[in-house]
Protein backbone atom coordinates (compact mmCIF):
# COMPACT_ATOMS: atom_id res chain seq x y z
CA UNK A 1 0.00 0.00 0.00
CA UNK A 2 2.77 2.39 1.00
CA UNK A 3 4.60 1.46 -2.12
CA UNK A 4 1.61 2.25 -4.35
CA UNK A 5 1.01 5.48 -2.43
CA UNK A 6 4.51 6.81 -2.98
CA UNK A 7 4.46 5.71 -6.58
CA UNK A 8 1.36 7.82 -7.14
CA UNK A 9 2.95 10.78 -5.44
CA UNK A 10 5.95 10.42 -7.67
CA UNK A 11 3.79 10.16 -10.76
CA UNK A 12 1.84 13.25 -9.81
CA UNK A 13 4.92 15.24 -8.98
CA UNK A 14 6.38 14.56 -12.37
CA UNK A 15 3.16 15.09 -14.29
CA UNK A 16 4.65 17.97 -16.25
CA UNK A 17 7.74 15.93 -17.08
CA UNK A 18 5.65 12.95 -18.15
CA UNK A 19 3.41 15.13 -20.27
CA UNK A 20 6.37 16.74 -22.01
CA UNK A 21 7.95 13.35 -22.58
CA UNK A 22 4.71 12.04 -24.03
CA UNK A 23 4.20 15.02 -26.35
CA UNK A 24 7.84 15.11 -27.46
CA UNK A 25 7.69 12.76 -30.50
CA UNK A 26 4.88 14.64 -32.30
CA UNK A 27 6.16 18.00 -31.03
CA UNK A 28 9.73 17.41 -32.23
CA UNK A 29 8.37 16.21 -35.56
CA UNK A 30 6.25 19.35 -35.92
CA UNK A 31 9.16 21.60 -34.94
CA UNK A 32 11.56 19.95 -37.41
CA UNK A 33 9.14 19.47 -40.29
CA UNK A 34 6.88 22.49 -39.86
CA UNK A 35 8.24 25.25 -37.65
CA UNK A 36 11.79 25.08 -38.99
CA UNK A 37 10.71 24.98 -42.67
CA UNK A 38 8.31 27.89 -42.09
CA UNK A 39 11.18 29.77 -40.50
CA UNK A 40 13.32 28.94 -43.52
CA UNK A 41 10.91 30.40 -46.06
CA UNK A 42 10.63 33.48 -43.91
CA UNK A 43 14.44 33.73 -44.07
CA UNK A 44 14.54 33.00 -47.81
CA UNK A 45 12.06 35.77 -48.48
CA UNK A 46 14.75 38.28 -47.42
CA UNK A 47 17.53 36.76 -49.53
CA UNK A 48 18.56 37.49 -53.12
CA UNK A 49 17.98 35.14 -56.02
CA UNK A 50 21.06 34.22 -58.04
CA UNK A 51 20.66 32.09 -61.13
CA UNK A 52 21.77 28.79 -59.66
CA UNK A 53 22.01 29.54 -55.99
CA UNK A 54 20.54 31.76 -53.34
CA UNK A 55 22.80 34.70 -52.51
CA UNK A 56 23.01 35.46 -48.81
CA UNK A 57 22.34 39.18 -49.13
CA UNK A 58 19.68 40.61 -46.91
CA UNK A 59 17.15 42.51 -48.99
CA UNK A 60 13.58 43.76 -48.97
CA UNK A 61 13.48 43.66 -52.78
CA UNK A 62 11.32 40.54 -52.91
CA UNK A 63 8.64 42.15 -50.78
CA UNK A 64 8.81 45.35 -52.81
CA UNK A 65 8.36 43.26 -55.96
CA UNK A 66 5.55 41.16 -54.46
CA UNK A 67 3.63 44.22 -53.28
CA UNK A 68 4.22 46.68 -56.13
CA UNK A 69 4.22 44.51 -59.25
CA UNK A 70 0.78 44.99 -60.78
CA UNK A 71 0.42 41.29 -61.69
CA UNK A 72 1.28 39.96 -58.23
CA UNK A 73 -0.83 42.56 -56.50
CA UNK A 74 -3.89 41.84 -58.62
CA UNK A 75 -3.58 38.09 -58.02
CA UNK A 76 -3.25 38.70 -54.28
CA UNK A 77 -6.29 40.99 -54.19
CA UNK A 78 -8.28 38.49 -56.25
CA UNK A 79 -7.30 35.58 -53.98
CA UNK A 80 -8.38 37.52 -50.94
CA UNK A 81 -11.69 38.42 -52.62
CA UNK A 82 -12.29 34.83 -53.70
CA UNK A 83 -11.60 33.41 -50.24
CA UNK A 84 -13.83 35.97 -48.57
CA UNK A 85 -16.67 35.28 -51.01
CA UNK A 86 -16.22 31.52 -50.66
CA UNK A 87 -16.25 31.85 -46.87
CA UNK A 88 -19.39 33.97 -46.89
CA UNK A 89 -21.25 31.69 -49.32
CA UNK A 90 -20.12 28.48 -47.63
CA UNK A 91 -20.98 29.58 -44.10
CA UNK A 92 -24.36 31.07 -45.10
CA UNK A 93 -25.31 27.90 -46.98
CA UNK A 94 -23.98 25.66 -44.21
CA UNK A 95 -25.79 27.28 -41.31
CA UNK A 96 -29.31 26.07 -42.19
CA UNK A 97 -27.97 22.54 -42.73
CA UNK A 98 -26.24 22.48 -39.35
CA UNK A 99 -29.42 23.92 -37.80
CA UNK A 100 -31.59 21.33 -39.53
CA UNK A 101 -29.43 18.40 -38.42
CA UNK A 102 -29.13 19.69 -34.87
CA UNK A 103 -32.75 20.76 -34.27
CA UNK A 104 -34.94 18.83 -36.67
CA UNK A 105 -33.27 15.47 -37.19
CA UNK A 106 -34.07 12.57 -34.91
CA UNK A 107 -31.06 12.09 -32.54
CA UNK A 108 -30.53 8.52 -33.71
CA UNK A 109 -30.16 9.72 -37.30
CA UNK A 110 -27.79 12.64 -36.65
CA UNK A 111 -24.64 10.57 -37.09
CA UNK A 112 -25.95 9.25 -40.40
CA UNK A 113 -26.60 12.78 -41.69
CA UNK A 114 -23.12 13.92 -40.67
CA UNK A 115 -21.68 10.88 -42.39
CA UNK A 116 -23.61 11.69 -45.57
CA UNK A 117 -22.38 15.28 -45.45
CA UNK A 118 -18.73 14.32 -44.96
CA UNK A 119 -18.49 11.55 -47.60
CA UNK A 120 -18.10 13.82 -50.66
CA UNK A 121 -15.29 15.62 -48.88
CA UNK A 122 -13.23 12.44 -48.67
CA UNK A 123 -13.53 11.43 -52.31
CA UNK A 124 -10.79 12.33 -54.76
CA UNK A 125 -10.44 16.09 -54.67
CA UNK A 126 -8.85 16.35 -58.12
CA UNK A 127 -11.62 14.39 -59.80
CA UNK A 128 -14.31 16.38 -57.98
CA UNK A 129 -12.82 19.64 -59.20
CA UNK A 130 -12.51 18.28 -62.72
CA UNK A 131 -16.17 17.25 -62.65
CA UNK A 132 -17.19 20.81 -61.82
CA UNK A 133 -15.57 21.70 -65.09
CA UNK A 134 -17.88 19.16 -66.72
CA UNK A 135 -20.91 20.49 -64.86
CA UNK A 136 -20.25 24.16 -65.61
CA UNK A 137 -18.70 23.81 -69.09
CA UNK A 138 -19.99 25.00 -72.46
CA UNK A 139 -21.63 21.61 -73.16
CA UNK A 140 -21.94 20.90 -69.46
CA UNK A 141 -24.75 19.71 -67.24
CA UNK A 142 -26.00 23.18 -66.30
CA UNK A 143 -26.02 24.47 -69.85
CA UNK A 144 -27.60 21.41 -71.46
CA UNK A 145 -30.17 21.32 -68.66
CA UNK A 146 -31.12 24.98 -69.07
CA UNK A 147 -31.10 24.72 -72.87
CA UNK A 148 -33.28 21.60 -72.71
CA UNK A 149 -35.76 23.38 -70.48
CA UNK A 150 -35.80 26.33 -72.85
CA UNK A 151 -34.73 28.79 -70.16
CA UNK A 152 -31.73 30.01 -72.17
CA UNK A 153 -31.11 30.17 -75.92
CA UNK A 154 -27.36 29.74 -75.95
CA UNK A 155 -24.94 28.24 -73.40
CA UNK A 156 -23.88 30.47 -70.53
CA UNK A 157 -20.18 31.25 -70.66
CA UNK A 158 -19.77 33.26 -67.46
CA UNK A 159 -19.85 30.15 -65.27
CA UNK A 160 -16.56 28.53 -66.29
CA UNK A 161 -12.92 29.66 -66.44
CA UNK A 162 -13.36 32.69 -64.25
CA UNK A 163 -13.74 33.69 -60.63
CA UNK A 164 -17.36 32.43 -60.46
CA UNK A 165 -16.42 28.84 -61.17
CA UNK A 166 -13.60 29.03 -58.63
CA UNK A 167 -16.05 30.26 -55.98
CA UNK A 168 -18.63 27.53 -56.76
CA UNK A 169 -16.05 24.74 -56.73
CA UNK A 170 -14.38 25.90 -53.53
CA UNK A 171 -17.73 26.41 -51.80
CA UNK A 172 -18.49 22.80 -52.64
CA UNK A 173 -15.11 21.53 -51.45
CA UNK A 174 -15.22 23.25 -48.06
CA UNK A 175 -18.90 22.67 -47.21
CA UNK A 176 -18.33 19.99 -44.53
CA UNK A 177 -15.65 22.12 -42.87
CA UNK A 178 -18.24 24.86 -42.43
CA UNK A 179 -21.08 22.62 -41.28
CA UNK A 180 -19.34 20.66 -38.54
CA UNK A 181 -18.18 23.48 -36.21
CA UNK A 182 -21.61 25.17 -36.42
CA UNK A 183 -23.30 21.85 -35.74
CA UNK A 184 -21.15 21.24 -32.67
CA UNK A 185 -21.97 24.73 -31.33
CA UNK A 186 -25.70 24.22 -31.91
CA UNK A 187 -25.61 20.83 -30.18
CA UNK A 188 -24.14 22.44 -27.06
CA UNK A 189 -27.03 24.90 -26.65
CA UNK A 190 -29.20 24.04 -23.69
CA UNK A 191 -32.66 23.68 -25.22
CA UNK A 192 -34.31 25.07 -22.09
CA UNK A 193 -32.88 28.52 -22.94
CA UNK A 194 -34.98 28.53 -26.08
CA UNK A 195 -38.10 27.54 -24.17
CA UNK A 196 -37.34 30.28 -21.66
CA UNK A 197 -37.06 32.80 -24.49
CA UNK A 198 -40.44 31.83 -25.86
CA UNK A 199 -42.04 31.65 -22.40
CA UNK A 200 -40.90 35.23 -21.86
CA UNK A 201 -42.88 36.27 -24.89
CA UNK A 202 -40.30 36.36 -27.69
CA UNK A 203 -41.33 35.04 -31.08
CA UNK A 204 -39.49 32.03 -32.45
CA UNK A 205 -37.60 34.27 -34.84
CA UNK A 206 -36.54 36.71 -32.12
CA UNK A 207 -35.53 33.80 -29.87
CA UNK A 208 -33.32 32.61 -32.69
CA UNK A 209 -31.76 36.07 -33.14
CA UNK A 210 -31.29 36.82 -29.46
CA UNK A 211 -30.51 33.39 -27.99
CA UNK A 212 -29.54 30.78 -30.56
CA UNK A 213 -27.41 32.94 -32.84
CA UNK A 214 -25.17 34.51 -30.16
CA UNK A 215 -24.64 31.08 -28.59
CA UNK A 216 -23.70 29.63 -31.99
CA UNK A 217 -21.22 32.38 -32.83
CA UNK A 218 -18.11 30.51 -31.58
CA UNK A 219 -18.96 27.73 -34.05
CA UNK A 220 -19.61 30.23 -36.83
CA UNK A 221 -16.28 31.94 -36.14
CA UNK A 222 -14.51 28.56 -36.20
CA UNK A 223 -16.07 27.67 -39.54
CA UNK A 224 -15.23 31.07 -41.02
CA UNK A 225 -11.56 30.58 -40.09
CA UNK A 226 -11.39 26.94 -41.14
CA UNK A 227 -12.76 27.85 -44.58
CA UNK A 228 -11.08 31.22 -45.09
CA UNK A 229 -7.49 30.30 -44.24
CA UNK A 230 -6.99 27.22 -46.45
CA UNK A 231 -9.02 28.47 -49.45
CA UNK A 232 -6.64 31.34 -50.13
CA UNK A 233 -3.90 28.79 -50.75
CA UNK A 234 -5.87 26.44 -52.96
CA UNK A 235 -3.98 25.43 -56.07
CA UNK A 236 -6.03 22.79 -57.88
CA UNK A 237 -9.32 24.64 -58.25
CA UNK A 238 -8.01 27.86 -59.84
CA UNK A 239 -5.67 25.79 -61.98
CA UNK A 240 -8.40 23.54 -63.37
CA UNK A 241 -11.54 25.70 -63.47
CA UNK A 242 -10.19 29.24 -63.03
CA UNK A 243 -8.83 29.96 -66.48
CA UNK A 244 -6.43 32.87 -66.95
CA UNK A 245 -8.58 35.35 -65.04
CA UNK A 246 -9.16 32.99 -62.12
CA UNK A 247 -5.52 32.39 -61.10
CA UNK A 248 -4.85 32.66 -57.40
CA UNK A 249 -1.85 33.12 -55.15
CA UNK A 250 -1.03 29.38 -54.95
CA UNK A 251 -0.62 29.26 -58.73
CA UNK A 252 1.76 32.18 -58.47
CA UNK A 253 3.75 30.47 -55.72
CA UNK A 254 3.95 27.26 -57.75
CA UNK A 255 5.10 29.26 -60.79
CA UNK A 256 7.88 30.98 -58.84
CA UNK A 257 9.10 27.76 -57.20
CA UNK A 258 8.77 25.08 -59.83
CA UNK A 259 8.88 26.99 -63.12
CA UNK A 260 10.96 30.13 -62.56
CA UNK A 261 13.09 28.73 -59.73
CA UNK A 262 12.90 32.03 -57.91
CA UNK A 263 12.67 30.78 -54.33
CA UNK A 264 13.14 34.13 -52.58
CA UNK A 265 10.32 35.83 -54.52
CA UNK A 266 8.10 32.74 -54.16
CA UNK A 267 8.78 32.79 -50.42
CA UNK A 268 8.01 36.50 -50.18
CA UNK A 269 4.67 35.94 -51.94
CA UNK A 270 3.86 32.98 -49.68
CA UNK A 271 4.81 34.88 -46.52
CA UNK A 272 2.82 37.94 -47.66
CA UNK A 273 -0.26 35.80 -48.36
CA UNK A 274 -0.04 34.13 -44.96
CA UNK A 275 0.54 37.51 -43.31
CA UNK A 276 -2.58 38.98 -44.89
CA UNK A 277 -4.66 35.91 -43.98
CA UNK A 278 -3.44 36.03 -40.38
CA UNK A 279 -4.17 39.74 -40.15
CA UNK A 280 -7.69 39.39 -41.58
CA UNK A 281 -8.36 36.44 -39.26
CA UNK A 282 -7.16 38.37 -36.21
CA UNK A 283 -9.32 41.37 -37.12
CA UNK A 284 -12.27 39.05 -37.57
CA UNK A 285 -11.66 37.40 -34.19
CA UNK A 286 -11.21 40.81 -32.61
CA UNK A 287 -14.56 42.03 -33.98
CA UNK A 288 -16.28 38.97 -32.52
CA UNK A 289 -14.38 38.91 -29.23
CA UNK A 290 -17.50 39.31 -27.12
CA UNK A 291 -18.98 36.02 -28.41
CA UNK A 292 -15.88 34.03 -27.54
CA UNK A 293 -15.73 34.96 -23.87
CA UNK A 294 -18.88 33.10 -22.84
CA UNK A 295 -19.05 30.90 -19.74
CA UNK A 296 -16.97 27.79 -20.08
Amino acid sequence: MMNAESRWAKLRRTEAANGLLMISPPAIYAILMLAAPLGTILLYSFLTDGYLEIIRDFTMANYVEAWTNELYRSVMVRSLGVSMTVTLVTVLLAFPIAYFVSFHVDPSKKALWLFLITIPFWTSYLIRVFLWKVILGYNGVVNSGLLGLGIIDEPLTFILYNVNSVVITLAHAYAPFAILPIFVALEKIDRSYLEAGQDLGESRFMTFIRVTLPLTMPGVIASVLIVFIPTIGDYVTPQLVGGPEGRMVANLIQLQYLKLDNYPLGSAIAVSAMGIVTLVSLIFIGLNRRYLKGPK
Binding site: T40, I41, S124, I229
Partner: protein, 268 residues
Protein backbone atom coordinates in the same frame (compact mmCIF):
# COMPACT_ATOMS: atom_id res chain seq x y z
CA UNK B 1 -39.24 14.48 -38.68
CA UNK B 2 -40.18 18.15 -38.37
CA UNK B 3 -39.11 21.20 -40.34
CA UNK B 4 -40.58 20.84 -43.85
CA UNK B 5 -38.71 23.67 -45.56
CA UNK B 6 -35.49 22.82 -43.85
CA UNK B 7 -35.77 19.30 -45.14
CA UNK B 8 -36.33 20.48 -48.71
CA UNK B 9 -33.29 22.74 -48.37
CA UNK B 10 -31.21 19.93 -46.83
CA UNK B 11 -32.05 17.57 -49.68
CA UNK B 12 -31.23 20.27 -52.23
CA UNK B 13 -27.93 20.80 -50.43
CA UNK B 14 -27.13 17.10 -50.52
CA UNK B 15 -27.80 17.10 -54.27
CA UNK B 16 -25.27 19.96 -54.60
CA UNK B 17 -22.77 18.03 -52.46
CA UNK B 18 -23.21 14.81 -54.40
CA UNK B 19 -23.53 16.31 -57.91
CA UNK B 20 -19.95 15.49 -59.01
CA UNK B 21 -20.06 11.99 -57.52
CA UNK B 22 -23.34 11.22 -59.30
CA UNK B 23 -21.97 12.40 -62.65
CA UNK B 24 -18.67 10.54 -62.33
CA UNK B 25 -19.94 6.99 -63.07
CA UNK B 26 -22.09 8.31 -65.93
CA UNK B 27 -18.95 9.23 -67.86
CA UNK B 28 -16.98 6.23 -66.64
CA UNK B 29 -19.54 3.93 -68.30
CA UNK B 30 -20.20 6.21 -71.27
CA UNK B 31 -19.07 4.96 -74.67
CA UNK B 32 -17.53 8.24 -75.87
CA UNK B 33 -14.11 9.84 -75.72
CA UNK B 34 -15.50 13.31 -75.11
CA UNK B 35 -16.68 14.16 -71.62
CA UNK B 36 -19.96 15.92 -72.47
CA UNK B 37 -23.69 15.36 -72.67
CA UNK B 38 -25.63 13.72 -74.20
CA UNK B 39 -24.37 10.26 -73.22
CA UNK B 40 -23.86 7.92 -76.16
CA UNK B 41 -24.09 4.38 -74.79
CA UNK B 42 -23.02 1.94 -72.10
CA UNK B 43 -19.48 0.60 -72.17
CA UNK B 44 -16.95 -0.85 -69.77
CA UNK B 45 -14.02 -0.29 -72.08
CA UNK B 46 -12.53 2.51 -69.96
CA UNK B 47 -12.26 0.11 -67.07
CA UNK B 48 -10.42 -2.46 -69.17
CA UNK B 49 -8.23 0.32 -70.61
CA UNK B 50 -7.40 1.27 -67.05
CA UNK B 51 -5.97 -2.19 -66.40
CA UNK B 52 -3.57 -1.81 -69.32
CA UNK B 53 -1.75 1.33 -68.23
CA UNK B 54 1.60 0.53 -66.62
CA UNK B 55 2.18 4.16 -65.60
CA UNK B 56 -1.05 4.10 -63.63
CA UNK B 57 -0.04 0.90 -61.85
CA UNK B 58 3.30 2.36 -60.84
CA UNK B 59 1.59 5.50 -59.56
CA UNK B 60 -0.92 3.40 -57.62
CA UNK B 61 1.85 1.33 -56.06
CA UNK B 62 3.71 4.50 -55.04
CA UNK B 63 0.56 5.96 -53.52
CA UNK B 64 -0.30 2.82 -51.59
CA UNK B 65 3.21 2.64 -50.16
CA UNK B 66 3.11 6.29 -49.12
CA UNK B 67 -0.40 5.96 -47.67
CA UNK B 68 0.43 2.86 -45.60
CA UNK B 69 3.67 4.27 -44.16
CA UNK B 70 2.20 7.74 -43.56
CA UNK B 71 -0.91 6.43 -41.82
CA UNK B 72 1.13 4.23 -39.48
CA UNK B 73 3.57 7.03 -38.62
CA UNK B 74 0.85 9.68 -38.26
CA UNK B 75 -1.27 7.44 -36.04
CA UNK B 76 1.75 6.66 -33.86
CA UNK B 77 2.47 10.37 -33.41
CA UNK B 78 -1.26 10.93 -32.89
CA UNK B 79 -1.34 8.39 -30.06
CA UNK B 80 1.46 10.21 -28.22
CA UNK B 81 -0.15 13.61 -28.70
CA UNK B 82 -3.66 12.48 -27.75
CA UNK B 83 -2.43 10.68 -24.66
CA UNK B 84 -0.41 13.72 -23.64
CA UNK B 85 -3.21 16.18 -24.20
CA UNK B 86 -5.97 14.18 -22.52
CA UNK B 87 -4.00 12.87 -19.55
CA UNK B 88 -1.35 15.40 -18.55
CA UNK B 89 -1.00 19.06 -17.79
CA UNK B 90 2.38 20.41 -18.79
CA UNK B 91 4.05 23.72 -19.70
CA UNK B 92 3.65 25.07 -23.26
CA UNK B 93 0.79 22.64 -23.86
CA UNK B 94 -1.36 25.07 -25.85
CA UNK B 95 1.58 26.26 -27.96
CA UNK B 96 2.86 22.80 -28.79
CA UNK B 97 -0.60 21.43 -29.57
CA UNK B 98 -1.31 24.52 -31.67
CA UNK B 99 1.83 23.87 -33.72
CA UNK B 100 0.98 20.18 -34.17
CA UNK B 101 -2.61 20.98 -35.22
CA UNK B 102 -1.55 23.89 -37.48
CA UNK B 103 -1.53 21.87 -40.75
CA UNK B 104 -5.30 21.49 -40.35
CA UNK B 105 -5.77 25.12 -41.42
CA UNK B 106 -2.45 25.95 -43.08
CA UNK B 107 -2.78 25.86 -46.89
CA UNK B 108 -1.06 22.72 -48.11
CA UNK B 109 0.99 24.65 -50.64
CA UNK B 110 2.74 26.44 -47.77
CA UNK B 111 3.61 23.11 -46.14
CA UNK B 112 4.80 21.85 -49.53
CA UNK B 113 7.05 24.77 -50.49
CA UNK B 114 8.56 25.14 -47.03
CA UNK B 115 9.47 21.44 -46.89
CA UNK B 116 10.79 21.61 -50.45
CA UNK B 117 13.09 24.51 -49.62
CA UNK B 118 14.47 22.81 -46.53
CA UNK B 119 14.94 19.40 -48.16
CA UNK B 120 16.69 20.84 -51.20
CA UNK B 121 18.75 23.08 -48.94
CA UNK B 122 19.90 20.04 -46.98
CA UNK B 123 20.69 18.21 -50.21
CA UNK B 124 18.05 15.51 -49.68
CA UNK B 125 16.93 14.13 -53.03
CA UNK B 126 13.18 13.97 -53.58
CA UNK B 127 11.61 10.53 -53.33
CA UNK B 128 8.57 8.74 -51.96
CA UNK B 129 10.02 9.27 -48.47
CA UNK B 130 9.99 13.04 -48.80
CA UNK B 131 6.29 12.83 -49.68
CA UNK B 132 5.79 10.69 -46.57
CA UNK B 133 7.41 13.41 -44.43
CA UNK B 134 4.78 15.88 -45.63
CA UNK B 135 1.85 13.49 -45.43
CA UNK B 136 2.63 12.54 -41.83
CA UNK B 137 2.54 16.24 -41.02
CA UNK B 138 -0.92 16.83 -42.49
CA UNK B 139 -2.44 13.50 -41.31
CA UNK B 140 -1.36 13.84 -37.67
CA UNK B 141 -3.95 16.56 -36.77
CA UNK B 142 -6.76 14.35 -38.08
CA UNK B 143 -5.50 11.35 -36.11
CA UNK B 144 -5.38 13.53 -32.99
CA UNK B 145 -8.97 14.70 -33.57
CA UNK B 146 -10.12 11.07 -33.70
CA UNK B 147 -7.83 9.65 -31.03
CA UNK B 148 -8.37 12.35 -28.41
CA UNK B 149 -12.06 11.52 -28.30
CA UNK B 150 -11.11 7.87 -27.82
CA UNK B 151 -8.62 8.73 -25.06
CA UNK B 152 -10.99 11.28 -23.51
CA UNK B 153 -13.69 8.69 -22.92
CA UNK B 154 -11.26 6.39 -21.07
CA UNK B 155 -12.12 5.92 -17.44
CA UNK B 156 -8.97 6.84 -15.53
CA UNK B 157 -9.89 4.59 -12.59
CA UNK B 158 -9.26 1.54 -14.80
CA UNK B 159 -5.70 2.70 -15.24
CA UNK B 160 -5.28 3.45 -11.53
CA UNK B 161 -6.63 0.00 -10.70
CA UNK B 162 -3.96 -1.53 -12.93
CA UNK B 163 -1.22 0.45 -11.15
CA UNK B 164 -2.61 -0.60 -7.76
CA UNK B 165 -2.50 -4.21 -8.90
CA UNK B 166 1.19 -3.81 -9.62
CA UNK B 167 1.34 -3.23 -13.36
CA UNK B 168 4.02 -0.92 -14.73
CA UNK B 169 3.00 2.11 -16.85
CA UNK B 170 4.15 0.28 -19.98
CA UNK B 171 2.20 -2.90 -19.27
CA UNK B 172 -0.87 -0.87 -18.21
CA UNK B 173 -0.76 0.89 -21.53
CA UNK B 174 -0.46 -2.36 -23.42
CA UNK B 175 -3.02 -4.36 -21.39
CA UNK B 176 -5.64 -1.74 -20.50
CA UNK B 177 -5.42 1.42 -22.57
CA UNK B 178 -4.45 0.05 -25.96
CA UNK B 179 -7.32 -2.46 -26.24
CA UNK B 180 -9.82 0.22 -25.22
CA UNK B 181 -8.62 2.77 -27.78
CA UNK B 182 -7.99 0.17 -30.51
CA UNK B 183 -11.14 1.03 -32.49
CA UNK B 184 -10.05 4.68 -32.46
CA UNK B 185 -6.60 3.65 -33.71
CA UNK B 186 -8.07 1.65 -36.58
CA UNK B 187 -10.37 4.53 -37.48
CA UNK B 188 -7.42 6.92 -37.41
CA UNK B 189 -5.32 4.61 -39.61
CA UNK B 190 -8.11 4.42 -42.18
CA UNK B 191 -8.68 8.18 -42.22
CA UNK B 192 -4.97 9.00 -42.61
CA UNK B 193 -4.71 6.36 -45.33
CA UNK B 194 -7.59 8.03 -47.19
CA UNK B 195 -6.11 11.53 -46.79
CA UNK B 196 -2.67 10.46 -47.94
CA UNK B 197 -4.01 8.52 -50.93
CA UNK B 198 -5.91 11.60 -52.10
CA UNK B 199 -3.33 14.31 -51.32
CA UNK B 200 -2.04 16.13 -54.38
CA UNK B 201 -0.13 19.35 -53.68
CA UNK B 202 2.52 17.99 -51.32
CA UNK B 203 3.11 15.00 -53.59
CA UNK B 204 3.26 17.34 -56.61
CA UNK B 205 6.07 19.35 -55.01
CA UNK B 206 7.94 16.61 -53.19
CA UNK B 207 7.60 13.45 -55.29
CA UNK B 208 10.49 14.14 -57.64
CA UNK B 209 10.36 11.68 -60.52
CA UNK B 210 8.08 9.11 -58.88
CA UNK B 211 4.46 10.20 -59.39
CA UNK B 212 1.73 9.30 -56.94
CA UNK B 213 -1.79 8.52 -58.10
CA UNK B 214 -3.14 12.10 -57.78
CA UNK B 215 -0.05 13.48 -59.55
CA UNK B 216 -0.64 10.97 -62.35
CA UNK B 217 -4.34 11.91 -62.55
CA UNK B 218 -3.46 15.61 -62.70
CA UNK B 219 -0.99 15.03 -65.52
CA UNK B 220 -3.62 13.10 -67.49
CA UNK B 221 -6.11 15.98 -67.39
CA UNK B 222 -3.98 17.68 -70.02
CA UNK B 223 -4.80 14.97 -72.57
CA UNK B 224 -8.54 14.93 -73.32
CA UNK B 225 -8.28 11.42 -74.76
CA UNK B 226 -7.15 9.92 -71.46
CA UNK B 227 -9.85 11.58 -69.36
CA UNK B 228 -12.45 8.76 -69.70
CA UNK B 229 -9.97 6.33 -68.16
CA UNK B 230 -9.51 8.78 -65.29
CA UNK B 231 -13.29 8.83 -64.84
CA UNK B 232 -13.25 5.02 -64.56
CA UNK B 233 -10.36 5.22 -62.10
CA UNK B 234 -12.24 7.90 -60.15
CA UNK B 235 -15.30 5.66 -59.89
CA UNK B 236 -13.17 2.88 -58.42
CA UNK B 237 -11.50 5.33 -56.01
CA UNK B 238 -14.82 6.78 -54.85
CA UNK B 239 -16.21 3.30 -54.12
CA UNK B 240 -13.02 2.42 -52.29
CA UNK B 241 -13.00 5.52 -50.13
CA UNK B 242 -16.68 5.10 -49.24
CA UNK B 243 -15.92 1.56 -48.04
CA UNK B 244 -12.86 2.76 -46.09
CA UNK B 245 -14.83 5.61 -44.50
CA UNK B 246 -17.73 3.37 -43.57
CA UNK B 247 -15.21 1.08 -41.83
CA UNK B 248 -13.57 4.05 -40.12
CA UNK B 249 -16.95 5.33 -38.92
CA UNK B 250 -17.90 1.86 -37.68
CA UNK B 251 -14.71 1.54 -35.63
CA UNK B 252 -14.95 5.10 -34.33
CA UNK B 253 -18.46 4.50 -33.04
CA UNK B 254 -17.57 1.12 -31.60
CA UNK B 255 -14.62 2.70 -29.83
CA UNK B 256 -16.79 5.36 -28.22
CA UNK B 257 -19.42 2.78 -27.25
CA UNK B 258 -16.74 0.47 -25.83
CA UNK B 259 -15.38 3.18 -23.58
CA UNK B 260 -18.90 4.05 -22.44
CA UNK B 261 -19.16 7.45 -24.11
CA UNK B 262 -21.92 8.73 -26.33
CA UNK B 263 -21.66 9.40 -30.01
CA UNK B 264 -21.57 13.11 -30.62
CA UNK B 265 -20.62 13.66 -34.20
CA UNK B 266 -18.48 13.08 -37.24
CA UNK B 267 -14.81 12.75 -37.94
CA UNK B 268 -13.68 16.29 -37.52
Amino acid sequence: MRGGWFKVYAIGYLVFLYAPIIILPMFAFNDATVIAFPLTGFSTRWFSAMLEQPALHIALKNSLFIAVVSSVLATTLGIFASRATTRYRFPMKAGLMGLIMLPLVLPEIIVAVSLLVVLLGLGVSLSLWTVILGHVLICTPFTIAILSSAFQSLDQSLEEAAYDLGESPASTFRLIILPLVMPGIISSLLISFTISLDEFIIAFFLAGTEPTLPVYIFSQFRFPSSVPVIMALGTVLVCMSIVLLACAEYFRRRGIAKAGGKNTGGFL
